[in-house]
Point group: C2
Chain length 116, copies 2
């Protein structure tokens, strides 16, 4: 990931409402959520939510698809992974002092994965 894309990702997540939306979409998983449901769930006006989702989409952190009258938003895990990779490698030079706390990540031991 290039610096410019990383900056857009960081900026997108660097706001309370958008961070909450992204976390919600991560929890929702691959099925995603309709824009209206997200707005209701976070008690946000529809047009405000639309703007927030647009920023996340422009950063590549979520993707949108239409389903009938609704537009479903889905977190882009690959992109988020790339952002984290940028932060650990490109930004932090892979220094163990920084990376160490992340070893608790389940991806480390995919064999024993339990239901989260």
């Amino acid at each position: 990931m290039e610096t410019d894309a990383a900056l857009r990702g960081l900026s997108a997540l660097a706001q309370e409402g958008r961070l909450a939306v992204f976390r919600l979409l991560v929890k929702a998983g691959p099925d995603g959520m309709a824009a209206g449901d997200i707005a209701r769930r976070t008690k946000t006006a529809a047009n405000t939510m639309s703007a927030q989702l647009l920023v996340l989409a422009n950063a590549g952190l979520v993707r949108a698809r239409r389903d009938g009258r609704s537009i479903i938003y889905v977190a882009d895990f690959g992109r988020m992974g790339a952002l984290l990779e940028f932060l650990t490698k490109d930004c932090c030079g892979g220094r163990p002092e920084i990376c160490a706390p992340m070893l608790a990540c389940p991806a480390k031991k995919p064999r024993k994965a339990r239901a989260a």
Copy 2:
């Protein structure tokens, strides 16, 4: 790490100049760098740099200490690690799809560490 601290960390890094400064300080390591050296190296006015460093310091990502006439800034690796931990665990729920790309982090295999 709490959401509020994570937001401050994300905001601090979500700007070209500050991200560059933080990367520079990570590379500089525990010895850190004087504010003036950072400003010269990044071709930034001293007062602008001072403001950027203040934002990073308020986010806890760098620490400052005086050394004679200079003020030395040092990246806080622990804090950056905590931010990454927040993003992987609290924010992303430790989903392997997101964490996977980070397995290349050297901390995973400290035994064979080579000079970077």
